[in-house]
């Protein structure tokens, strides 16, 4: 069904393009496939699959184990307005410093996670993500019909705000779904449900060659998913 390609561009402080990588994506993940299969069912018979979020914590399809996602809703969600409400995570392409031994079975980019979030705890900060950019600067707002079929492109810009060069060796396309966990029981006996946003990697790739991104440099990463026509 799906073929995807990734493209990586690095620009220096003056905006000059210094590195370009482009290749076929290799690996839809088992976590994505499990969520996809579960989404074929209704709430009464959805199978229980363990799905791991990007940091490796499990949640489950169906409702028999917690945290549970039921029939997973919006498995392609990259809406930053939703993500920012629940976390400091930024959709949609996260970066790691090492290649993954088996990307299809990984939970996220491998090595140290260096680009994912708005906090200053990571070397990379999101650039040009927000309501002023077309579709938040994250995606093509509508599919386009190309020679390869319907194309949907998802993009992130990350700026190295640290004082050291950072090597990028793996990348992941990260969507998010909700999971529910039973919370406190009230005096009337009703139990609350705690809703958490679970970012998960749908595609993970090792870069064909690791890339060094120097302080002040901007890395633009994109995935284009093709649906044949």
């Amino acid at each position: 069904m799906l073929a995807a390609r990734y493209r990586v561009e690095v620009r220096d402080k003056e905006g000059k393009l210094v590195t370009v990588l482009e290749d076929d994506s290799k690996s839809f993940t088992i976590n994505f496939i499990n969520l996809l299969i579960a989404s074929h069912y209704n709430q009464n018979d959805v199978p229980t699959f363990a799905v791991y979020n990007v940091i490796g914590s499990p949640f489950y399809t169906g409702t028999t184990k917690t945290p549970y996602a039921g029939v997973p809703w919006q498995i392609f969600n990259i809406d930053p307005m939703l993500w920012f409400f629940y976390s400091d995570a930024v959709p949609a392409i996260w970066l790691g410093t090492s290649p993954c031994a088996n990307p299809a079975l990984a939970n996220g980019p491998c090595g140290s996670l260096v680009a994912c979030c708005t906090t200053r705890n990571f070397p990379f900060s999101p650039y040009n993500v927000g309501p002023s950019a077309l579709c938040y600067g994250l995606a093509s707002c509508s599919p386009s019909l190309t020679e390869e079929g319907w194309a949907i492109t998802i993009t992130n810009h990350w700026l190295n705000t640290s004082s050291s060069p950072v090597t990028i060796a793996s990348m992941a396309l990260v969507f998010a779904v909700f999971a529910l966990t039973p919370g406190e029981t009230s005096s009337s006996g009703s139990q609350s449900l705690v809703r958490t946003l679970e970012p998960y990697a749908a595609i993970i790739d090792n870069l064909s060659a690791p890339i060094a991104v120097w302080p002040g440099y901007l890395i633009t990463v994109s995935y284009t998913i093709y649906f044949p026509v």
């Binding site: 995807a4 839809f28 074929h40 069912y41 029939v71 919006q74 498995i75 307005m81 599919p143």
Partner: protein, 223 residues
């Protein structure tokens, strides 16, 4: 940019009234529909953002009704139905289908046959001239239940068998992979049916009385 290496295969098996295979066609599938692409794009955003982006997504269901995904905005008057957002797009079971489809020519997700070729499958709403279930009687739609990793990638297989229960031959010229979709909407109505893939069958296949035809879509996700 090189051509995509993975894709979708459509296999068609015709069996006689004794269950013997009399014809097999296997061909690359050609056409994810514009409707599928639009529904998928809409499903990336919540209702609030769809409004904020001022981007109304529209698609057509299998009957040809225009459905609009409008976020919190007011739907344009030309929309048959409006949704705030899209939540589910691969629903494959016969329960909870919106009532208008329950009296339609075919009434559940599956691989639907049509008697005409589609001029442009990519823009079709379903198989062209869908064949009634009183002519070709369906088995239940079979869809993936667990991950299956092959040397070519994750394989997802969909199949459905239809038997000619009339006394005359029936020609099948197009097929469509039909899913249910839903989202948040002002008044929940159940799953709407739409065609994710439409293909012409060339040459058309004749199904004699008592014969059955099985349509198998195999989708591969690259690994």
């Amino acid at each position: 940019m090189p051509k995509s290496k993975v894709g979708v295969t459509l296999r068609i098996e015709v069996r006689d009234d004794k269950g013997r295979v009399v014809k097999v066609i296997e061909t690359p599938s050609r056409s994810f529909t514009q409707n599928f692409a639009n529904i998928l794009s809409a499903s990336m955003w919540t209702d609030r953002s769809i409004s904020g982006l001022k981007n109304i997504y529209t698609f057509y269901d299998v009957v040809g009704n225009q459905v609009c995904v409008v976020g919190d905005a007011s739907p344009p008057s030309h929309c048959y139905l409006s949704l705030y957002d899209v939540g589910i797009l691969f629903y494959s079971e016969p329960q909870y289908i919106a009532s208008p489809y329950q009296s339609y020519t075919i009434y559940m997700p599956g691989i639907w046959p049509g008697s005409f070729f589609c001029p442009e499958p990519v823009y079709a709403y379903g198989p062209c001239s869908p064949i009634s279930t009183s002519v070709l009687s369906p088995t239940l739609f079979s869809f993936p239940s667990s991950p299956y990793l092959t040397a070519s990638g994750w394989q997802m297989t969909y199949s459905q068998t239809w038997t000619n229960v009339t006394g005359s031959p029936v020609m099948v010229s197009s097929v469509a992979l039909v899913f249910g979709m839903t989202g948040d909407m002002p008044t929940p109505v159940g799953y709407l049916l739409y065609a994710a893939i439409v293909d012409n069958v060339t040459p058309a296949v004749a199904i004699n009385p008592g014969y059955s035809v099985t349509f198998i879509y195999t989708l591969l996700y690259a690994v």
